[in-house]
Amino acid sequence: MFDKRIYENIDWGLIGLTLLLCFTGLIVLYSAVHAGSSTSHQVFFKKQLIWLACGLCCMIIVSLISYKNLEKWGIWIYIFCICLLIAVYFFGKKAGGSQRWLELGPVTVQPSEIVKVAVIIILARYFSKKVTRQGFVLKTLMTPFILVMIPFLLIAKQPDLGTSMLILLISVFMTLFVKIARRTFIYMTVSGAAFIPFVWMFLLQDYQKQRILTFLSPDSDTRGAGYHIFQSKIAIGSGMITGKGYLEGTQNALSFLPEQHTDFILTVLAEEWGFIGSSFLLVVYLAFMVWGLNIAAGCRDSFGTILAVGIVSMLFCQVFINVGMIMGLMPVVGVPLPLVSYGGSSVLTSMIGIGILMSISIRRQFSND
C-alpha cells in the first residue's frame, strides 16, 4: 500500500481542481450565511470548513486504497449500504415530512448519499465483466436493473425524489456508456415513455406533481410553488455581467430565498459575481469532468474505466440538475451542488468519489499489481 510509486504519480491537476471548487464554495457560503438574516446560520461556515477537512482526509485515505480492491469488496459495500437504507426505513429520524437520516451517536448521517457510490461500484463491477462491443441486451440488463431498483425504491420511499432520481440517472449514464444494443435501446425508450403516465398517477406525491406543473408554466404562479424559482431567477438575472459585488447581493441579504446556503447557493454567486463568476464556476466543473474522463481513458482495465465514468456521471448529474433547477430549466428537486453547497454527507460523498478517481489515476501507470 505504501508504494513509492503512489507519491510519484499523485494527480496534482485533480487535487488543484478539487481545492479550487472547495475554495470557491467557501467564499460563496460565507456571503450566503453572513448577509442572510439569521445569525444562527453563521455556524454553517465553520461547520463546512470542518466537513471539507474531513472530506479531504477521506479522499486521501480512499486514494491510497487500490481501486481494484473495490471490485472485490463491491458486493459487500453494496449490501452494507442497502442495510443502512433498511435501517433508515425502520429507525430513521424524521424531519420535515421525510425519513432520511440515521442518528449515530452525536452525528446524523444520510445513507442515501453514500449509496450513490455503492451503486456505481457494483454496476462498474457487473458491466466490466459482461461488456461487449455489441452492447447490452434486455437479458444482460436484468441484473443491473434489479441492483439499481432496490436502493431506488428504498430512497424514493423516504421520500427523497432528488437522490433516487439521481441514482437512476447515474445508472442510465453508465449503461449508455457501456453501450446498449440498438434494438434494445429502442424497446426501452418506447416502453419507458409508456410508463410515464403510470408514474404520474401512482408514484408521485401531490407536492411533487405541483413542482412539475409549476416548472412547465413557471410564470403563472409567482406566489405559491413558483415563488422560489421566481426569486431565484431574479437573483441570478440581476447579477448581470459583473455582479453586484461580494456581500452586496440584495436578494441574498434580504433572504428572499430559502436554503440559500444549500441547494440555492449558486444564486448567491450569480447575483454577486454576475455572468463572469457563475460561468467561471461552470467551466471549472467542466474542466474537472473532462479531467476525470481523461483518467478513465488512461486506465487500462474495464472496471477502472467504467468506475471513473460512474463517478464523473455522479458529479455531472448533480451539477446539471442543481444548476438547471435554480435557473428554471428543471423542476425543484433537492440536489446539492457538489463541494459548494453546505452539507456534510454531500461533501463526504463527493470527496470519496474524487478519492476513487485519484486512486485510478495514480495506478494507471503501474504495470501490474
Binding site: V43, F230, G237, G239, M240, A297
Partner: protein
C-alpha cells in the same frame, strides 16, 4: 457459444469516452447559455425587478397565550410595544432624516448617528431597530409625519406583561430572548434569532401550548421598503390560554407572609393534588427580564445569598427534622414495633452504646404514648422506636410517603431529596452505617433531605386518608376561542401503606399537636378552624441540643430551620400546607402562624376584628379603624398574639423549670385539661 461477443479494447473505450465528453460539454454549454440569457439578455429587467419591485415574505407573529389563576384572574397578558426601525439605504438623505427623527422623538442626533453608523453595508437593506418601546405621544407624532421620514418605520411587537409584579414568579416564570445554544438545540427548531421563549416555570414548560403558530404574509414592497400591496396572507394562530390551579388570593397571602423571610410555603388541595399556592422567598420581578436585564442587576440577583432565582418549594433540600416523625410513627405502628398504648419513658436523654442522645426538652417528657410523642415531639420515644425499626425499614416507609423521589410537578429543576439507607452510605461516603445514624434518621436529622413540595404531598395524603396525588399546577389549557385542549385530571401516584387504624392514631396525634396544651404548635390553635399538623426544627449545625437561649444567641446562618406541615379542617380537610422558614428557629412559633394565616385565608375566615387599642397607649390614628388590613396594625396584632402566646408558653417554660420538683402534679393537671379539650374534636375525628 456464439463468438460474436467481442471483448472491447482500449480504443473502443476511448471512442466512447470521446462521445461522452462531447455530450457533457454540450450540456454544460446549455447551462451557460441559460445563464447568458438570464444575466445578460434579460439582465437589466431582472436587475430592475430586484431593486424596485420586491416581493417579500413577512412573518406575522402569533400572540402568546394568556395565563389565569384558578378563579379566572388574569395574571399574564400581552401588550403592544412600538419600536422605531430604519432601513439605511432607503433613508435618504440620511442626515436630514435623522435630524428630523431626533426632533420628533427627543433622542439626541449624536446617539442616532452612532447607532446608524454601526449598520454594515450588507445589512443596510434590512430593518434596524433604533429605539425600543417608545411612548404613545411619540408614536402619534411619528405616525403623522410618516411621509416626512423616508426609511423610518414604527413596528409593533407584542410584549409580555406580568400584571401582578413578583406574584408567583417562580411558577409562572418569564420570557427572554432565545440564546444561541437554544437556537441550535432540536427543542427549539421552529425558533429564529431574536425570538422570545419561556425560560423558567410554566412559561418554559408549556411553551409549545402558549406559543401559537406564526403566520406569513407575501407582500410587494417599494424601493423604500414600504408595503405596496399584500398578495397573500396566512393568518397567525394565537397561543393557548393556561389556567393554573393557583388561587391568586391565597398565593398573594403566602407571599406576603414570607416577606422579609427566606423560605417557602406550599398549599395543596388534599382531594386532588392541585396546588393552591406555592411561594418561595425571596422572589424576583418577571418584568425585569422583558427586553433584557442589565448585567449588574443580574449579577446582583445571582450573587444574593438567599437565592431569589431558586424555587425553594421544589429545589430546596432541607432536613425534615421532626415532621419526619410522622413517617417513623407510621413505620412503627405498621411494623408492630409499638401500638397505640405502648408507653415509653423519656428522661430527657437516650443512651446508645457510649453515646448519649438528648431529647429537645432538657428534663424529658416522662411517660409518653405514640400520640403524645407526636404531640410533644418527644425525641426519646422516636429514638427507641427507630432503633427497633432499623434504618432500611424507615427508608421503605419514607419512600412510600413520597420522599426521596421527584413528585413530577410541572416545574423546573425539581430536587429528589435524599433518604439514606445502609447501602447508600456505603456507596456515597464509603463508610458503614452506625446504629447512632439510625437514631438521628428516626427524628429526621442525619442525612435526610426533603423538599417542601414533598412535605406537602405527605401531609396531604395523611389528610385525605392515604392517597398520594401528583401535585398539579396547570388545571386546563384552552384555545383562544375557549375550546379545551387539555385538562389535568387528578393522578394517583400511590397509596400510603397505612391501615385505617394507624391512620386514626396518627391523625389524633397530629390533632393534639395544635389543639392540646403542651402540643408543640399549641400557640396557633384556632377557635374557628381545627388545624392538625406537625412542627419541625431542623438543626443546621451540629447535633448538640441547645437551650432556647443558646439558639437565640446563634448567628443567623446557624439558626435552625423552622418547619410546619398541617391540614385543616381536621375532620374534613380542604387544604394541606407545608411551611419552611430558613433559620426561623422554632417550627411552632416561626412557621406555624404562617400556616394558620394561610389556612384562614383559603377557608375565607375573616380575621378577628382588631382588639380595642387599650394597651397601645394613646395612638388613636383614624386609619386604624378605617383600614384594618393595613400591615402596621397587623404587626401590632401579631405582637399581641405573641404576647398571648408567651403567656401560654410561659406556662410551658414554668413546667420545664419546675419539672424536677413537682412534675407529677403538673402532669395530672394537664391531663385533666387535655381531656376536657379533647372530648369534642376527637369525637368528630372518629369515623
Amino acid at each position: 457459444m456464439k463468438q460474436y461477443l467481442d471483448t472491447p479494447d482500449n480504443d473502443w473505450y476511448k471512442q466512447r469516452l470521446g462521445i461522452f465528453v462531447v455530450c457533457i460539454t454540450v450540456l454544460v454549454l446549455l447551462l451557460v447559455f441559460r445563464l447568458f440569457y438570464l444575466q445578460i439578455y434579460k439582465g437589466q429587467e431582472y436587475r430592475d425587478r430586484s431593486e424596485n419591485n420586491r416581493i417579500h415574505l413577512q412573518q406575522i407573529e402569533s400572540t402568546r397565550g394568556l395565563i389565569y389563576d384558578s378563579q379566572g384572574v388574569l395574571l399574564v397578558e400581552n401588550r403592544p410595544q412600538y419600536n422605531i426601525s430604519i432601513i439605511k439605504r432607503s433613508a435618504k438623505p440620511l442626515k436630514k432624516t435623522l435630524k428630523k427623527l431626533s426632533n420628533y422623538t427627543g433622542i439626541p442626533v449624536v446617539e442616532l448617528n452612532k447607532k446608524v453608523s454601526k449598520i454594515k453595508r450588507s445589512q443596510s437593506y434590512k430593518h434596524f431597530t433604533l429605539n425600543k418601546d417608545i411612548e404613545r405621544d411619540v408614536l402619534a407624532k411619528l405616525e403623522v409625519r410618516k411621509f416626512d421620514l423616508p426609511g423610518v418605520f414604527v413596528n409593533v411587537k407584542s410584549h409580555r406583561n406580568y400584571l401582578k409584579s413578583r406574584r408567583a414568579s417562580h411558577i409562572i416564570g418569564y420570557l427572554s430572548a432565545i440564546s444561541l445554544k437554544e437556537l441550535k438545540s432540536k427543542k427549539y427548531k421552529w425558533a429564529k434569532g431574536g425570538d422570545s421563549i419561556g425560560k423558567f416555570g410554566v412559561e418554559k414548560i408549556y411553551e409549545k401550548y402558549l406559543r401559537g403558530k406564526s403566520g406569513e404574509r407575501l407582500v410587494e414592497v417599494d424601493v423604500t421598503g414600504k408595503v405596496v400591496r399584500v398578495l397573500n396572507t396566512i393568518k397567525a394562530k394565537p397561543g393557548n390560554n393556561l389556567f393554573l390551579t393557583i388561587n391568586h388570593n391565597v398565593q398573594k397571602k403566602a407571599e406576603e407572609l414570607l416577606i422579609g423571610k427566606v423560605g417557602s410555603i406550599v398549599a395543596m388541595d388534599p382531594s386532588n393534588g392541585e396546588i393552591i399556592a406555592i411561594a418561595s422567598s425571596p422572589t424576583f420581578d418577571q418584568n425585569d427580564f422583558i427586553g433584557g436585564m442589565s448585567h449588574s442587576k443580574w449579577n446582583k440577583m445571582i450573587s444574593n445569598k438567599n437565592r431569589p432565582m431558586e424555587n425553594k418549594a421544589v429545589q430546596g433540600n432541607y432536613p425534615p427534622a421532626s415532621i419526619y416523625k410522622i413517617v417513623t410513627a407510621i413505620a412503627a405502628l405498621e411494623e408492630g414495633v409499638v401500638d397505640e398504648d405502648t408507653i415509653v419513658n423519656c428522661p430527657g436523654y437516650h443512651k446508645y452504646g457510649n453515646r448519649v442522645f438528648r431529647c429537645w426538652k432538657p428534663g424529658g417528657h416522662g411517660n409518653v404514648n405514640i400520640k403524645d410523642a407526636l404531640k410533644e415531639s418527644c425525641d426519646v420515644f422516636f429514638y427507641q422506636v427507630g432503633q427497633k425499626l432499623g434504618v432500611d425499614r424507615i427508608a421503605w416507609y419514607s419512600r412510600a410517603c413520597g420522599f426521596g423521589e421527584r413528585t413530577g410537578i410541572d416545574l423546573d429543576h425539581e430536587s429528589k431529596g435524599l433518604i439514606p439507607t445502609i447501602i447508600w452510605k456505603k456507596k456515597r461516603a464509603g463508610k458503614s452505617w452506625h446504629g447512632g445514624d439510625t437514631l438521628s434518621v428516626s427524628i429526621g436529622q442525619s442525612y435526610n433531605l426533603v423538599t417542601p413540595v414533598q412535605a406537602v404531598g405527605m401531609i396531604s395524603s395523611i389528610a385525605n386518608g392515604g392517597i398520594r396525588y401528583k401535585p398539579i399546577i396547570v388545571k386546563k389549557i384552552e384555545t383562544a376561542s375557549a375550546k379545551v385542549v387539555m385538562e389535568n385530571e387528578k393522578i394517583i401516584l400511590g397509596k400510603l401503606p397505612v391501615t385505617p387504624k394507624t391512620m386514626k392514631i396518627i391523625r389524633k396525634g397530629l390533632w393534639r399537636v395544635v389543639n392540646q396544651r403542651l402540643g408543640t404548635a399549641w400557640i396557633i390553635r384556632d377557635k374557628q378552624v381545627s388545624i392538625s399538623g406537625k412542627t419541625g426544627t431542623a438543626q443546621v449545625v451540629g447535633r448538640k441540643k441547645m437551650t432556647p437561649e443558646e439558639i437565640k444567641a446563634l448567628p443567623y446562618r446557624l439558626k435552625p430551620h423552622a418547619w410546619f406541615v398541617a391540614y385543616a379542617p381536621s375532620r374534613d380537610p380542604k387544604i394541606a400546607v407545608a411551611v419552611i422558614v430558613e433559620h426561623g428557629e422554632h417550627g411552632g412559633s416561626a412557621a406555624g402562624p404562617l400556616a394558620r394565616k394561610l389556612i384562614r385565608e383559603y377557608l375565607k375566615i375573616p380575621d378577628p376584628p382588631p382588639p380595642p387599642p387599650l394597651i397601645e397607649e394613646i395612638v388613636i390614628k383614624p386609619e386604624v379603624k378605617l383600614e384594618p388590613e393595613k400591615p402596621k396594625v397587623k404587626i401590632k396584632a401579631n405582637l399581641q398574639e405573641e404576647k398571648k402566646i408567651e403567656s401560654d408558653s410561659g406556662l410551658k417554660d414554668e413546667t420545664e423549670k419546675k419539672e424536677t420538683s413537682n412534675s407529677d402534679s403538673e402532669l395530672i393537671e394537664q391531663k385533666k385539661d387535655s381531656v376536657e379539650d379533647e372530648i369534642k374534636p376527637e369525637a368528630f375525628l372518629e369515623p
